[in-house]
Symmetry: D2
Subunit: 297 residues, 4 copies
């Protein structure tokens, strides 16, 4: 089928390719002319036959908001917009309402798989009405991995449920990465263990901990066995923070997801104010030596 | 090749079957005569041709110790013992030394895969000398999953390294389970999400969080969508505790593994003494109502 | 000086008493006629001479909002409202703006000390303009404990800073209580220690851990040495949740405050969905026995 | 009464002073001749009248062990040794047995208060027999703070109970420090709060969080308002590690003490191997940029 696609970055670019390989007609728009098929959103709308379907794949937050406002201007009654970015699920209902005023439908779609989705397919979690989702199913079926539909796609609930589910997916992802990483640090600290990389390689098959992330860590360690070239400084992209916030709202204890989030915050600090205060306290009551800033140590 | 196998429980029984299917001659001993091939350890030794190899697959702790002491009595110089149970790695060196006094070799082997190992193969992490391990390689190659040897087997280091690696594997396993379980609780608490089982099913393919454990949780939720028939009471078998203890020894921070361990302790308490003390404190300073024991609430 | 006081619950009632003992004229309003000095907010306004000062001491959330809206109706230009409840600091600016439209000033005041404040004085953290705060200082000086002003009172910053500071105070309070409570549980679990209460009593003097909360736990244990009459079920009143949420906004890692919050959530669950999922997983891969619901354990 | 005192470091030196001021006759031994009253342990024994009491105040571990072995050589039946250092409680029984072979008694004493104990008195937690403890009570009464004995001294149980209790005290201390420090970091991160030091100062009176440690943090912030001169690098002295290990043995969940311990480990790492592994994973699946070592950032 025909699809408009806004945003041709790391994710959108690959999705356009996978969809075209799947036989769909994709018109892509991106502010960078060298990758864009049309000059602007109006051009995108003009190049699609109604009723149109437009997939938005841009950074969450203001850019997504602006894009949806822009599409509300250029699209018409009966058209349909899909937000496939990592928007916070609380944005979905306002976006759906904004579009509904013009008779335009809305689906929120969580898309997992990263740069591997191009070849392996993307895990999809979508929210919206049955009718809207049925209409886009050919697109979803091409994007998702081959195999039974229910193994790589879920209609999670009404508008918002797709992004909520993707948010939880990413919260879990944070905690899984921390689990593998803590285990790596223990292995690497113990002299008995000759080569942590070989251990991670051996775990890829037959073990209880085997997983896709586990394979990727084995791969990363093969490329750089002591991770000597990589810094621990780690960004977080919103979903982890939101998962903890939503868990708090729902009164759900999430100690391991929260620990993973806090570890990222900490990784970006030059020195921890918390630990400076602890060191100051020890010095106060015990006369314990503290490391003065600027001294080697 | 020929192998003696002590312990025909859930794990040992299946391993005997997989090894026999792989063409090995396995003589099994177990105190339960209905599954045992020989009446006792002496009978086991007598039924094997020297130099013998005997695999011990019994519960860690005193039973493993007694079995190894017993084998030291009935085996001879040049024989070899493999401890495939979940022994703490600190036991391995004493066991190796005990056997070495009689000229008997020792390998420690961590075995992962649970009840699925029979059909899918077992992930193996072993510690010992190159020569000893080379000698048992035909057994390892049958037990491990098909495919490249390094993807399901690792010679992790000298005696102790196998069990150390398996211990870390299980520590990671604890944290992975907690990660998926926290995510499940958040999904189940949010009304927008119609069916957490369908989400877990959809995550089995294409997503970043896909894994064998993730598939198993999807399966468990299919069998009992609200986990209504299952209690949160969860045992822990030693490796999680040891991983945190070793991490402390090595000064490695393991917040998410520790959180997973503590959650298991908590799951086995009728009421938390910690939280009773917190409730008592709130009552003291704030006059906050407390729930009295025995009152509904 | 003269003060209107709205809300004569556990906190407000005691504050009226302390203020009257301090020589202030307090007109109190409460919906319960048996404690109220006036029939309604209009009556409160009428009984005060302008420019009036009214202290609001009602539950945070809608009731605070309604009270401030009601006061905006009955007060006049030049009057001043103080919100002394546990409002989220993000409410303060809207409340200040709402009142400013009528020329009414606003101070947010965090008040600590619980039921003990009546006799010992209340710790005060306030936000607002220098002029507004100077005007109410006689009230603050009576409410706070005797001694140097800076040891029991802080003008923390502009509107919002008082409640923000009180929120952090309560977040810390959560973590302190958990610290003492975890220690209690370890002591109570060890047979060597004859009487945890005697330990907590001994810690009240000379030790590094001595504190007011620590004394209260000693007192609680004296009243009920095994906390046999108290349930671990523990409410949380907002500030702990907000502290974690604000920490996330500010990218500050707060593992121990978050752990304390999650422990409260957990204390209110009959069974943990997270641990049900963990138990289900163990059963899936290991054939580990699970506790079925309804069976004794 | 007369007392031998081995170890005149930061703690022992001050204790000798406090005891002498209290009217006791103290003979101190230390390997540093400039502070020592006698040349060696034999000289110490010779200078005391039997039955002797000797207090050991040296670093825990091998030095304590050697000192006790040395005292067993020079003391006689009916004498009594007190280990007042931070020994692990599991050392106490072996030490008691070693001394009992020669008819020498043993008490383990946890001593809290740091450098402030000289003037304010030391919190004491002791383990041993009723008779042994009664004999040393005049010493304990001088060391502990003035006031009721039970408010600064506890006979916690048999040999081992004193050090166990002190260990838990220090575990709690770790968590208390983290609680105050996390709160400090949140306050310092929020622009609304003008001066975190003033807040900590104001909390010293009337608030629920007031404590001795809280006062010390106010003092530290007064000396260095932004802790600019202090590094977050923080040692740990054993008791925190042991508390978590004992909690694991006793199956007691201690998330906040463990978090505090791990934060110290982390504070001593140049870069976190765990976070390097997390960053490597993100790079693998998402093509997320990683910070390369050696780049500014």
């Amino acid at each position: 089928m025909q699809l408009g696609l806004v945003g041709l970055g790391k994710m959108g670019f690959n999705m356009r390719e996978r969809l075209r390989e799947g036989g769909h007609e994709v018109v892509g728009f991106d502010p960078r002319p060298e990758v864009s098929d049309v000059p602007d959103l109006a051009g995108l709308a003009a190049s699609l036959q109604g009723p149109r379907v437009v997939w938005v794949m841009v950074p969450s937050g203001p850019i997504t908001r602006e894009t949806i406002v822009g599409l509300a201007d250029v699209l018409s009654e009966g058209d349909l917009v899909i937000d496939g970015g990592n928007s916070r699920y609380t944005e979905d209902k306002p976006h759906a309402e904004l579009l509904a005023h013009k008779g335009i439908g809305f689906i929120d779609a969580g898309v997992s798989g990263g740069i591997w989705g191009l070849t392996e397919g993307y895990g999809l979690m979508v929210g919206g009405s049955d009718d809207d989702i049925a209409r886009v199913m050919p697109i979803f079926d091409t994007l998702r991995p081959p195999g039974p539909r229910e193994d790589g796609f879920v209609h999670a609930g009404p508008v918002g449920a797709g992004h909520f589910t993707k948010m939880v997916h990413n919260g879990i992802e944070y905690a899984l990465m921390t689990a593998y990483a803590e285990g790596y640090e223990v292995l690497a600290a113990e002299d008995l263990v000759k080569d942590p990389q070989a251990v991670y390689q051996a775990w890829t098959n037959g073990t209880v901990v085997r997983s896709w992330l586990q394979q990727l860590l084995a791969k990363a360690l093969k490329e750089d066995p002591e991770l000597a070239q990589i810094s621990g400084y780690t960004e977080d992209s919103g979903e982890g923070r939101w998962t903890v916030e939503e868990a708090i709202r729902l009164r759900v204890p999430v100690p391991s997801i929260a620990a993973s989030l806090f570890a990222r915050f900490l990784s970006r600090q030059d020195d921890s104010p918390t630990m400076k205060a602890v060191a100051a306290l020890r010095n106060q009551f015990g006369g314990h030596a503290v490391k003065r800033v600027g001294l080697s140590g």
